[in-house]
């Protein structure tokens, strides 16, 4: 299995193919369809990360046999959903430690950094924070 950074590099290489913004968005729209479907029971306020621009639902489960965190998520906005699909591809199925230490450089490299600015308020930045919090919590639980 590839490392977290190998996946990030893969994504960067995929996006290099698109020099036009519309093509990049088109690709994100396609990716939004690949996102592992979140169980509808998690699409509640409890799992909602509220942004003023778009909503994100996130569920993180710990697979004890493999020692990895499985992420599922959704958004009401498609471009946000496409970016979530990328984040899930990079961060899901990873150990809590890997997630905690992850430096998500691919977002900047593919030109989507503005989507993670605190003022954008689309839920993505909070989503990453939340994923890292889950990782810290599961990490602490594992080492008890």
């Amino acid at each position: 299995m590839e490392t977290l950074n190998q996946i990030q590099d893969q994504i960067v290489n995929e996006f290099i193919l698109y020099d036009d913004w519309m093509d990049r968005y088109q690709y994100l729209i396609e990716l939004s369809n690949d996102l592992p479907i979140i169980n509808p029971k998690f699409k509640t306020n409890e799992y909602l990360i509220n942004g003023c621009q778009s909503k994100v639902w996130l569920n993180a489960e710990f697979d004890e046999s493999k020692g990895v965190i499985i992420l599922t998520a959704d958004s009401d906005a498609i471009i946000t959903k496409g970016i979530i699909a990328l984040l899930v591809r990079v961060l899901s199925n990873r150990s809590p430690e890997e997630i905690m230490n992850a430096d998500l450089y691919f977002i900047d490299k593919i030109g989507l950094k503005q989507n993670l600015s605190p003022t954008r308020s689309n839920g993505l930045l909070s989503m990453i924070k939340q994923i890292k919090l889950y990782a810290i919590a599961y990490h602490a639980k594992m080492n008890k």
Binding site: W21, M22, Y25, Q26, S54, A77, I78, I79
Partner: protein, 406 residues
């Protein structure tokens, strides 16, 4: 004077800018307007040649700066036809004006059980300060609703008013729906029962000719940056009688008469409400923006913007598959809509990459979104420099969005 939008556009340097290699189409004027070169130059000139603290020094520069600042006050007075220049208070903006007044008015006149009336279509800046006041004083906030067209249900106002009503605060033009409210009727109705009225003019002052004496409003507030002036400057107009009797909302330098540790007496109007070093350069820049509007002619601006609003509304309807929010007969410069089945954020993201600046979201008016049970809209807001080509580019953008997401 003849209004020529292509000539007007030359006055605004930023309109030459390319965004993602495409000419900028700026349709977010409800959030803030761009600045004409005369305003930018004035601010630059002031910093480079006249800068000095106002109302303080005996020296040449300070006197010059003070004179220009007070001239700016007179310009604002003339622009809204206030009776006296000391009825014009410089603040940080509309939000600053309302917060200040809510505090000041609340301290003096609002007690437990009293009521303040606002409307369902207010910007958060005309909701939250009153909520904070009501919480502080155990008073009650009452809401005048609007109908699905976006018109205030004005016939309900009389029933909402009681002998506990202390103030009515209402927006002239809704920032989320574009409705022009019948503020004169509201003021007249309120005055029959001796209730003062505050008009939030943030979305009106740049589009509609304002005469505060004719309106007979007790307070009128607006921001410089939404009327082609600098940011961080705004106006609180109040009738002399009210301002004389209200306590200051901030303490500090310049607003005082005599200070001892036992007691402080306050300066006269308008200085009583202008504590500390004010944004005097903002005020001077704002006055320049007012000159610019005066020279262009507010009626010409209004006529041009109405034409663009009509053209845009018509063309969006032709595209089809669009739901409009705010369909009042009386609208000004704002179109709020959703492309059916497409999230406003997705639309905004794609439009952005086509060089088209619109706003998406709740526009700081969440109750308006709750009324329609939606999470937000796309808002197109027109300024004096927008032309039909801007609207055509917007429509092309929307067609592209529809292609991408359907």
């Amino acid at each position: 004077m003849n209004f020529n939008v292509e000539e007007i556009r030359k006055d605004f340097p930023i309109l030459n800018k390319k965004i993602y290699n495409k000419p900028l189409v700026y349709l977010d004027n409800g959030a803030t307007t761009q600045k004409p070169a005369v305003v930018i130059d004035r601010v630059h000139q002031f910093y480079s040649q006249f800068n000095s603290s106002i109302h303080r020094g005996v020296h040449y520069l300070s006197e010059q700066a003070t004179e220009e600042y007070e001239k700016a006050r007179k310009t604002v007075q003339r622009f809204i036809n206030a009776k006296h220049d000391y009825e014009i208070i410089f603040t940080s903006g509309t939000t600053g004006s309302i917060n200040g007044l809510a505090f000041s008015f609340g301290e003096k006149y609002v007690h437990k059980g009293d009521e303040i009336i606002i409307t369902e279509m207010e910007h958060h800046a005309n909701i939250v300060p009153w909520q904070m006041l009501c919480e502080r004083k155990e008073a009650q906030l009452k809401i005048l609703p609007f109908n699905n067209k976006g018109d205030l249900e004005i016939e309900k106002l009389n029933n909402l008013i009681s002998d506990k009503t202390k103030l009515i605060s209402v927006t002239y033009v809704s920032n989320a729906l574009g409705t022009i409210n019948p503020v004169k009727d509201i003021i007249d109705l309120a005055h029959k029962q001796n209730i003062p009225v505050l008009i939030d003019g943030a979305q009106a002052i740049q589009h509609i000719s304002i005469d505060v004496q004719e309106l007979d409003c007790d307070f009128f507030v607006f921001s410089g940056h939404k009327m082609y002036g600098p940011t961080g400057i705004g106006i609180l107009y109040g009738k002399e009688n009210w301002l004389e009797n209200l306590p200051p909302f901030q303490g500090g330098g310049d607003m005082v008469d005599v200070v001892t540790f036992e007691k402080t007496t306050f300066n006269a109007l308008p200085f009583k409400f202008e504590a500390g070093t004010t944004n005097y350069i903002g005020a001077i820049g704002m006055a320049e923006a007012l000159h610019y509007i005066e020279n262009t002619g507010i009626h010409s601006i209004n006529k041009h913007e109405e034409e663009i609003l009509g053209y845009a509304t018509h063309n969006l309807e032709i595209i089809g598959g669009i739901t409009m929010y705010g369909t009042s007969e009386k609208k000004s410069s704002i179109i709020s809509f959703l492309i059916n089945g497409i999230h406003q954020y997705d639309a905004g993201m794609v439009l952005d990459k086509m060089g088209i600046a619109v706003r998406t979201g709740t526009h700081c008016a969440q109750p308006v979104m709750q009324h329609f049970n939606i999470d937000g809209t796309i808002r197109v807001s027109i300024g004096l420099y927008n032309n039909k080509s801007d609207v055509d580019r917007l429509c092309e953008g929307i067609i592209k969005v529809k292609e991408m997401f359907s």
